[in-house]
């Protein structure tokens, strides 16, 4: 019997993406932004689709179906009913967004066929089913409770489902406008960060603050029932009837107008960040307790944008409500493409789900994007005359990289298939020495071109994770925050600015908090990635070599990009980013490039204008 090949797509809202599955096995997945070089690109993912088709060696007319991750009729139902509910307010929103919804989003089938130039069957499914499927099907669990939480998809903002074998049943939902994701986004905006990209910053800001507003949030903004369900008081929000997510009443509740973007962050923003983080954790715990009670399952799968809140995930893990967690690394809308492909494969086409592997999931480290062979890399370098040295032996190459890191160098590391999801996991990463107190500042100012109050994230050899972090499970996708072990922690030096004053955040972040200061947050936490040899052997070899040289099995891992730029995809992207920053070494597969051996890029002086700041 011919295999069932399904292409999933997500687009037109945030982070468009494509994914392809053959007989329920994930072949490829990628976000459009990596190809278009436009961060969070919501447009039709034509380049991501092309890549997926190439990776699967199929033509569009060989697809059994293209599955769109959302139900446009149900989404349009919400749009129209929201308009009617707030009329005569909301006319401006409608005028601005109506044309694109009416002309494109209602005609997804036509759009897909026009783009693919083939009369392929186009299916629509539900947004939160796509999220649920993206987490459950690749998980190592035969059955599990599934929670999805995001801003909104059609009407649902939260869903509770149960997965058993090849089947997912959605049990209940919480509906728009009551949304934990939108509540968090309201605070993101109010604190001066961009919605849909600044949530990480707000989460990173939280440890500096005191949660003195949490009661106000839980008394006025969000009401929570004992069964975890919640409602927002829409009197405080603007997203139903204006183009801004908060309103004057919200501003009055929190003592003034929103912080202007890029202005100084004050005590209020720190405390608001801490407060909404605490409130979010409480709501997530309530939902999880209810999910456990209702489903009786011992495992939980999580997806939806809120599942990218790795601090809340860490709290959920430590509460032990469930025995095990699996979180989809592409938890946002991009992951909906993958979920749509998998859901249709199993639930529509009846493809059986393969037996689970208790030792790992089906995501293969989330390395689901394009790879470039050594021959392709060499051809690129030779064509442009870029100086490089090929070091084919993995161990020798890893030792050369480790030596550079030990010497305080910053290394761009490009290896294997690109990650699917927002985190760089050692395929498109910039690496540094976490022991060096200067690494944080150096990498921020000379590589990322930002001043960040957030520390970098660590990658650690999975087998030595427990030496550094209080984390007794693997965290391959950097979705769990855990404390640095107490014996490694350092008190703030005498005379150092206190973490709870209205002072310069950068001064605080520069205080060494542990023997791996570049990755230790002010509250001694770290956003951990555990690295296994069998999943990413090249990256594991680098960490192993660094550990042999220094005794430390941890490196700094930050995404291979500059601020506002999507993570690099191709050798060209990587070389350009390498040359535009003060990175010292670039690793392109088995080719090593040193900065001092390169000629400056010509006519590249205005590159910073290419990227809007995030």
């Amino acid at each position: 019997m011919a295999p069932v090949t399904v292409l999933g797509i997500s687009c037109f809202y945030h982070d468009s993406a494509a994914a392809i599955a053959r007989d329920g096995e994930i072949v490829a997945a990628a976000q459009e932004e990596r190809f278009s070089r436009k961060k969070h690109d919501p447009r039709f993912p034509r380049q991501a689709i092309n890549y997926c088709l190439e990776e699967a060696f199929v033509e569009p007319d060989e697809l059994d179906a293209v599955v769109f991750y959302d139900d446009p009729v149900l989404s349009f139902d919400r749009v129209v009913k929201s308009l009617v509910a707030v009329a005569p307010r909301g006319a401006d929103q409608w005028q601005k967004a109506g044309p694109s919804f009416l002309s494109i989003k209602l005609f997804v089938t036509d759009h897909v066929r026009r783009m693919l130039r083939v009369d392929v069957p186009v299916l629509h499914t539900r947004h939160h089913l796509s999220h649920a499927a993206s987490a459950f099907y690749p998980s190592p669990f035969e059955d599990a409770a599934i929670l999805t939480l995001d801003g909104v998809g059609e009407w649902a903002t939260t869903s509770l489902a149960v997965g058993e074998g090849a089947r997912i049943r959605t049990l209940k939902e919480i509906h728009y406008p009551h949304s934990l994701g939108l509540l968090y986004s309201a605070f993101t905006y109010f604190c001066g960060f961009k919605i849909n990209s600044g949530e990480y910053k707000l989460m990173g800001l939280a440890p500096y603050g005191e949660a003195r507003y949490v009661d106000r949030i839980l008394d006025k903004l969000i009401y929570v029932r004992p069964d975890g369900s919640f409602r927002l008081d829409m009197d405080y929000f603007g997203y139903l009837d204006s183009q801004v997510v908060t309103n004057e009443r919200f501003h009055a509740l929190f003592e003034g107008p929103p912080r202007a973007p890029e202005s100084r962050i004050g005590r209020r923003e720190m405390d608001l960040a801490a407060s909404i983080q605490r409130a979010t954790e409480q709501v997530v715990l309530g939902l999880a307790r209810h999910a456990r009670e209702v489903t009786g399952k011992r495992q939980l799968c999580l997806a939806g944008g809120v599942a990218l809140n790795c601090v809340a995930n860490g709290v959920l893990l430590r509460e032990r409500i469930f025995d095990e967690l699996f979180i989809q690394p592409a938890a946002g809308d991009a992951g909906g493409a993958l979920g749509a492909a998998l859901a249709a494969s199993h639930m529509h086409f009846g493809v059986p789900r393969a037996p689970r592997n208790p030792d790992g999931d089906d995501l293969r480290g989330s390395y689901l994007g394009p790879a470039f062979s050594s021959a392709e890399v060499q051809a690129f370098l030779d064509r442009h005359g870029y100086a490089y040295e090929r070091v084919a032996d993995r161990a020798e190459r890893a030792d050369r990289i480790a030596s550079a890191l030990q010497a305080g160098k910053v290394v761009g590391f490009f290896s294997g298939r690109m990650e699917f999801g927002p985190r760089a996991l050692g395929a498109r990463s910039i690496l540094g020495d976490p022991r060096n107190p200067e690494t944080q500042v150096l990498m921020n100012l000379k590589i990322k071109y930002r001043e960040s109050f957030r520390p970098f994230a660590p990658s650690v050899l999975a087998e030595r994770c427990a030496e550094y972090f209080d984390l007794d499970v693997e965290s391959p996708y950097m979705l769990l925050v855990a404390p640095v072990r107490s014996e490694r922690q350092k008190a703030a030096p005498p005379g150092a600015p206190p973490a709870d004053g209205d002072i310069d955040l950068l001064a605080i972040v520069r205080q060494a908090r542990s023997d791996v200061p570049a990755i230790t947050h002010v509250d001694y936490s770290a956003r951990v990635q555990t690295v296994r040899r069998d999943v990413q052997p090249d990256y594991h070899a680098v960490l192993d070599a660094f550990a042999r040289r220094t005794g430390c099995p941890v490196v700094v891992n930050t995404s291979f990009n500059v601020r506002g730029e999507p993570i690099v995809c191709t050798p060209q992207d990587a070389y350009r980013c390498f040359m535009r920053t003060e990175m010292d070494m670039l690793v392109l597969e088995d080719c090593l490039l040193l900065k001092e051996m390169q000629k400056p890029l010509e006519d590249d002086g205005s590159w910073r204008q290419e990227y809007e700041l995030d």
Partner: protein, 107 residues
Amino acid sequence: MSSTDDAARVRRFYEEHIAPAAARLAARGGSFFPLGPTPEPSWWVLPHEGAEFYRLENAQLEAALRERWRDVPELAALAPHLVELARSLEVQSEDDGEISPFVYVMY
């Protein structure tokens, strides 16, 4: 026809169709969702009914909207006009791809 014309027509549609429908609904006390807490012990709801996977061809759109709004005559009456408007609009260019930093994109 330019996108500016389209925006004006969409605005006019709001004024001529949506706002009056809203007024009719309000007059009979209809509402679609609560705007805050209500006394029920739980705020979980059942998922919307309907197939988990379905095909939606261009020609089926009006019927799909009518079906969705079968209990709301004010909206069901809008369906043919909305579809006519939708079909008449220039397909919006995707070239921009800009996302407002201030709005969670939910339209």
